[in-house]
């Protein structure tokens, strides 16, 4: 199976390991993630002003590219996924905006593409049972905290493929890989997002709430599918450990990295060494790398 794939900016630069792990894991599962021939940045945030059509032009161009290559678009990053999916809904449901945007970018697009997160493809195309069968490593001793963040689930009326207060897709993914799910309350709270660029202290504390509660639930590591969440959660843990006595740093992996590890793939291109909190000791301890 071949599915057109949108990597996005961060996966092409700072989060190459996320991207590599995605492509290689999906290839191992028989799915070619075929990078769009032309794509641009999605904008990294869905424009919230009603008249801000220009900010929609970027994401829609990607959708137009995708439409030329197939009827689906696979996305790994949950922020890109949020922006592309919501932009697609605008093109599908809001005639007035559709006309203007199409005029701007000289296109004739009406939201035909299905924007899919990689986890959705695992759930709906591969299936959890088949995924479980493809797993080569034994993750039974690994406790994983699923981290959804905000962009993956909200707003539910638009994103709506999982229960926004009690999501299960990451849990089912972790279970399919054979690992334990660490049940903790803050898996869908915001990590601080772009506030990091404005007020680092606030972002750190927002992330700490999540990190500490995952640790408390006995997690060995956290998985997420957003590079900014990954950064915010990962980057400041040394500072947080100094500030909050007793806090033990916890590695934050991308979902595709854990997938590739479980599938027994060679992890050299996964950039596991580029994480701030090194995940390799715990992975080695559990016999996974």
């Amino acid at each position: 199976m071949r599915i057109p794939y949108y990597p996005g900016c961060t996966l092409s630069t700072k989060a190459k390991g996320f991207d590599q792990a995605a492509r290689q894991s999906f290839a191992a599962l028989g799915i070619e993630l075929a990078e769009l021939k032309t794509w641009n940045c999605c904008g990294a945030t869905f424009p919230l002003s009603r008249d801000n059509l220009l900010d929609l032009a970027g994401p829609v161009r990607n959708l137009v590219s995708a439409a030329a290559e197939g009827d689906k678009l696979a996305v790994a990053c949950s922020t890109c996924f949020n922006v592309l999916k919501r932009s697609n809904l605008v093109m599908r449901n809001e005639e007035d905006k559709r006309e203007k945007i199409n005029f701007f970018i000289e296109a004739d697009y009406a939201g035909s593409v299905q924007v899919l997160h990689l986890l959705e493809i695992l759930r709906d195309e591969v299936g959890w049972d088949n995924l479980a069968k493809a797993v080569k490593k034994n993750l039974a001793d690994l406790s994983v905290a699923p981290y959804y963040g905000c962009m993956f689930l909200r707003p539910p009326k638009e994103m709506g493929f999982d229960d926004h207060e009690n999501p299960q897709i990451l849990e089912n993914f972790i279970r399919a890989l054979g690992a334990q799910v660490a049940d903790y309350p803050h898996r869908a709270e915001c990590c601080g997002n772009y506030i990091a660029a404005f007020d680092l202290e606030t972002t750190r504390e927002m992330s700490y709430l999540i990190l500490a509660s995952a640790r408390k639930a006995g997690a060995d590591l956290i998985v997420t599918s957003c590079p900014l969440c990954q950064f915010n959660l990962d980057r400041w843990q040394q500072d947080l450990a100094m500030k909050h006595g007793g806090f033990r740093p916890i590695p934050v992996l991308y979902d595709t990295q854990l997938l590739g590890i479980a599938l027994g793939l060679d992890t050299t291109t996964f950039d596991l060494d580029k994480h701030y909190v090194d995940p390799r000791p715990v992975l080695a301890e559990k016999g996974l790398i």
């Binding site: 945030t45 926004h164 950064f231």
Partner: protein
Amino acid sequence: MRIQLSATKVHNDFIRKVEDMSGQDLLKCYQCGECSAGCPAAFAMDILPNQVIRLLQLGEHEAVLKSKTIWLCAACQQCYTRCPKGVDLSRIMEAVRDLLMLEHGDRIVIEKLPAETLAEFPQQAFISGFRKYTA
């Protein structure tokens, strides 16, 4: 503190622009406080999310413009998701920020960001940050 209410104040142009840009009806909010209760950044805010709407309802936008709160909203949509009246507060915050920056300039300047930040932060953080902190 005393707020002097008047017809011109509660119907002022700024409020109308906020409603128009955000597409939100400010008077739909009945001040239950659920947005503030669930906001993950509330601990760092000087006024609560519900107070942002309240002050706008009264035409007191000057107090909102001075607040830190509008810059600490991460548009995570938790408030909108749970709002019993379906008010999308993140859109209101965005409209207030945009109007403020159109008049007073950008909130962050890329050249002034520390080199360490520039080197480390994922691209996404800059792009979304510039979307929120520059006009």
